[in-house]
Symmetry: C2
Subunit: 313 residues, 2 copies
């Protein structure tokens, strides 16, 4: 259905950062076995997602769904794919586990608002920077890439509005400390495209947009519209979760992750290049859905599976 | 969460045209009683949707779900709300039924592509214009407003690409015949925002955009992103279906209607004025969901119901 694109429409590559095995599964009630998680991660790598966040080294007390983080990470030690998997590191103990599993890339996180930061990681923002210092130092010494998430950029459940200046300050600190990229999170999915443009416009005066990614939640159905606004402003990296994992629309409080298939489908139709194989992405989506055992929220996954079904008839 | 808007952000009104009771219910497997349909229509009117497409005068053999079209339409005869309800009229017999029910507004439909038009209404486009002539004439004489739908503007399941020129020609003919507005349909939900801008740019050279509406399907998750592109181009009327009625994401072949709540939520957050009451819209969405008996696909409805539930706890 894609119209022939004129030369001026052939646009730069867009990077899709897959968070399903971590951000998705940590919000799913179903426990997925280590073997099945690895099957999903390999399907995502096989679909050519450039980077897959495979797990989180959080204490299993907090996220039992990811209690097998060490086994997951160790499965990639010495593997060709080790550069393409990442793990979330919440603290010094998490860093030790990541180092032990020879991770080549980790992600750290904090919040743009003081209250969300305190409620979520039990530290002030100032204390968080201090706690990050040895993490960045160790990673720098061992040549481990560090990605940083900044939560509640579009709005905070405790403080309401979050000024772009607060987010800018956090992003600059994290980039200065050595993060190669900062992913801006719309944690409660409240963002709208006009706001997205305002935030990015303010940010672009201080930070090069190629250092920023967007991590939008589809809680209110606006994730893709927000990504479109981000694309128009020049953002070229977007986080997404296979099938919309972790975003069951019927579970109160679910995070409502943007589905990778919905994002990639739109990007490809618009003529962007992601390097991702569409048929293999749908295969990964089908695997995710089979593991969870119910239809996942991704519209594009359901449409693709329905058309395959129609073709099979 | 909405930031204070600067004066330049206070934008013109946007009209949301509610198609749930017709386009939604005709695609739902569950038969809803006449009484319940009227309850839903009244809830939508009460939420201040400016116009509600209440039913279709199609032969009940084709759409048994709307077999009670006459009863529905007759319920509004002489009512204060009669100017705010509309009915789809597929042919001369349908027009007779609409006249009999003293409808103040009707809608007609045809396709931008020749093949889809023939498959869908068993006439060539030229024959369709001829068949429309007496319909427009009768409506003109009786001061009945006529809205027109043009299907497959973003792509045809039989012909693939549809040139904007083909759509422009159909729109111009329908406006010349007396339609007050033409609603452009992305029947198979394949449109992307870049394509939307190209189509509307081409159209705007021949047709005033205030004569056009967009009717986007969410089959691939892109309805809202396409509406955003339309908004940016100057479109100010959008069709939507309460709860996403008719768009069960897990039913192969379902039309995937854009949910009214998702659209209105985004518009309000962006500072647009629709005149619609958000709490009453959610009430209507809850009624629709209760009638269908399963969670409807609207993200914003589910998020709103979940936050109500959390507040109740």
């Amino acid at each position: 259905m894609q119209e022939q694109l004129a030369t001026e429409d052939i646009v730069a590559n867009v990077k899709v950062y897959e968070v399903g095995p971590r951000d998705g599964l940590q919000n799913e009630a179903t426990f997925i076995s280590t073997e099945d998680k690895l099957k999903l991660i390999h399907a995502l790598l096989d679909a050519n997602l450039p980077l897959v966040e495979m797990t989180s080294f959080v204490h299993p007390r907090w996220i039992p769904a990811l209690a097998d983080a060490d086994q997951i990470a160790h499965a990639f030690v010495g593997s060709e794919q080790s550069q393409r998997v990442s793990a979330l590191v919440p603290n010094a103990r998490g860093l030790d586990r990541a180092l032990n599993a020879e991770c080549k890339e980790i992600a750290v996180f904090m919040s743009a608002s003081e209250t969300h930061n305190q409620r979520n990681i039990n530290k002030t923002k100032a204390e968080t920077y201090l706690a990050f210092e040895p993490v960045f130092k160790a990673c720098h010494e061992k040549n481990i890439k560090v990605r940083a998430y900044v939560s509640v950029v579009w709005g905070c459940p405790y403080e309401g509005q979050v000024s772009p200046n607060a987010s800018i300050e956090v992003c600059q600190r994290l980039l200065d400390m050595g993060a190669y990229e900062v992913s801006l999170g719309d944690t409660i999915g409240i963002g709208n495209p006009q706001q997205t443009k305002k935030i990015l416009d303010a940010m672009s005066k201080h930070i090069s947009l190629d250092k920023l990614a967007m991590h939008m939640h589809d809680t209110w159905g606006r994730a893709l519209a927000n990504c479109l606004a981000g694309l128009e402003m020049g953002i070229r990296t977007f986080d997404a979760s296979i099938g919309g994992l972790g975003g069951c629309p019927y579970a109160p409080g679910a995070s409502g992750n943007l589905a990778t298939e919905d994002l990639v489908s739109m990007l490809h139709e618009m003529g962007y290049h992601t390097g991702i194989s569409w048929p293999k992405l749908i295969k990964a989506g089908r695997i995710a859905q089979d593991l969870i055992g119910r239809p996942l929220p991704s519209r594009a996954l359901q449409a693709a599976l329905a058309s395959q079904k129609n073709l099979d008839c």
